[in-house]
Amino acid sequence: MSARSLDLKIYAFLIAVGIIGPLLVPSITSQMAVMWLMVLMAVTWDMTGGQMGYNSLGNITFFGLGMYASAVVQIGLVYDVMEYTASFGAIKVDFTVSQYWTGLVLGIGAGGAVATVFALVVGPFMLGLRGPYFAIGTLGLAVAVAELISGWRYVGGGSGISMPIFPGEAGTGSIVFYVMFFVLAIVCHMVIRAVYRTRFGLAINAIRDDEDKAEAMGIHTTRYKVMAWAISAFFMGMAGAIFGNMSGFIEPLEVAFPTATFGIFMVAMALLGGKGTLWGPVLGAILFHIVKEVTWTELLGWQWVALGAIIILNIVYFQQGILGWAQDRWPALFGVTVDEKMSRTGQAEAAE
């Protein structure tokens, strides 16, 4: 199929960019790491937002939970977490290289696991809400979790946690985290592309188009909805764990649960590229990130105002996004065609 070979070409292109980019210009490695993070966020958001029609404003919860889970696991392996956080960073724990790597791998795994479990537990309840109630409910959930964690002294409360320092040279660290985000984003997109091609993909599309009909046809709607959210949560949790380590310091409201930055970016990026399309969120994320990195510092504090304006413009005047627009413009490229044959056997039978 042509769509398949096109997908493979895009993967090859992205992988090439991902490898060549930091080799050519090492100074942009950490910006590119964040770009892959943005891609991952937009793609996982789009799974529920675009493909399933459940517009979450609270997926950032998974990110933060993953981050905190990894912090607790990584520090807890060698030290008492309570004492560590109570000292507000005064205690410097020395991790051996092997301790660090064990902690990091376990931490990322724990990040994914905790976020997934959280999604599985709250999913059946939150996903029972429809339309705007879901959006508001998830926004509320994100703020509630963020506030609860910033008041929880065990994990450092509002003053946060310092993460273990990467052993070895500073430059190596940023390359390691870059590779992690790069691989995770590509793998995440591949996994999501694969599941869209199964019964799962059709079911979540059906839920988006008409959930009542899907129920009336006997589809296990709750099961599919929760599963979709859990897959998003899994990748977001792992991404959170990596981001926590990359930042080196976790602060609850700005780093772990940044509702007003990443939480909104992921929605804006998916919408910009075209929600509900396979490559739209990727395109949107890359464009958004490039534009943001280039213009952000020039805007002298007005960048957030500009962000609000961009979201409004995007929503009000260009809702279908870039790929959505292309799909309307050239439907045949996206497989929307009339078959000239009237019947399976090819006879031109009158179709009434």
């Binding site: 517009n55 508001i136 409910g137 509320g140 008041g151 009542d212 105002v305 409004i312 929503i315």
Partner: protein
């Protein structure tokens, strides 16, 4: 936490104090929630910028005090200014999302809230501000109640009664109510629904702005406090249901009281969490009510 609860029982006067303070603040929540119920019911727009409109009104009052104008004097000015602001916002943004699906209006107003919030941050800075009204404190036995809170509750009541009378009796009020019931029928009968929508949104902005003036006088404002005000309005409207004015009033006062007690019992660091968790709770209760009758939340 348990210590705090036992304080409430040992010193009942303290519990009474929290109750009264909660009721006094609840009146302001009712105003903003009524505005939300208005735009939600009439034009089916879930306005996530509700809290930012409140905070914007608050900064108008704050700016007035900087110029040496008393915030109560600033109240009618804020009402008019916010009315105009709301009208402009309607023309630029809301008008184009009114007929679209509900997430569109939600996200567009979320973008708007970001815009207002960040602009305020740039202009006024991130510090917590108060519009000093300068009234004293009323001492009733062991209770100490700031006079300004009583005054502001009175102002809120006057405003609310005024709006309700307006909705009942005026031409525009009738047109708004007709449009809420059936926009198509209203259009057929010659009502300019576009104007009605603009007026409704502008009125909502004016109500929120006035509530914001009161918030700035009796409490405090900060560019990022808007979201919690929005969430409060959503809690109240969801709990009360649309078109249920007594419900909105009861839920508003109830929320004010809940917030004061929760802030005291769980500690100040969990005050916002207590409000937001209540939103999730209210939504869940709604969900189970509808699940019981084999239906879904729409």
């Amino acid at each position: 936490m348990l210590d705090n609860i036992s304080i409430l029982f040992q010193a009942p006067i303290f519990a009474v104090d929290l109750l009264i303070q909660g009721l006094l603040i609840g009146g302001i929540f009712v105003l903003a929630a009524y505005g939300l119920a208005l735009v939600w019911g009439v034009m089916n727009v879930k306005n996530l910028a509700q809290g930012e409109l409140v905070i914007l009104g608050g900064y108008l009052a704050y700016q007035a005090t900087l110029w040496g104008i008393h915030p109560i004097v600033a109240l009618p000015v804020a009402f008019v200014l916010m009315f105009c602001f709301g009208w402009v916002i309607y023309l630029v943004i809301i008008k184009r999302v009114v007929d679209r699906d509900m997430f569109t209006s939600l996200l567009a107003t979320f973008g708007l809230s970001l815009l207002i919030q960040q602009s305020l941050n740039l202009v006024f800075g991130p510090e917590v501000r108060i519009a000093e009204a300068g009234f004293g404190t009323l001492i009733l036995g062991d209770l100490a109640i700031p006079v300004i809170r009583i005054v502001s509750l009175g102002l809120a009541a006057v405003l609310a009664v005024g709006i309700i009378l307006f909705m009942r009796n005026s031409r525009m009020g009738q047109a708004i109510r007709a449009t809420a019931q059936d926009p198509r029928a209203a259009r057929v009968l010659g009502i300019n629904t576009d104007r009605v929508y603009a007026f409704t949104y502008a009125l909502n902005a004016a109500i929120c702005g006035s509530a914001g003036v009161l918030v700035a006088m009796i409490w405090n404002i900060q560019p990022y406090y808007g979201l919690v005000h929005s969430i409060r309005s959503f809690i109240i409207v969801t709990a009360a249901g649309l078109g249920n004015l007594p419900g909105v009033i009861i839920a508003g006062f109830g929320l004010g009281v809940w917030e004061n007690y929760a802030g005291f019992v769980f500690g100040a660091e969990f005050a916002i969490a207590a409000v937001v968790a209540l939103l999730v709770g209210v939504l869940m209760v709604r969900l189970f009510q509808l699940y019981r009758v084999r239906q879904v939340v729409r």
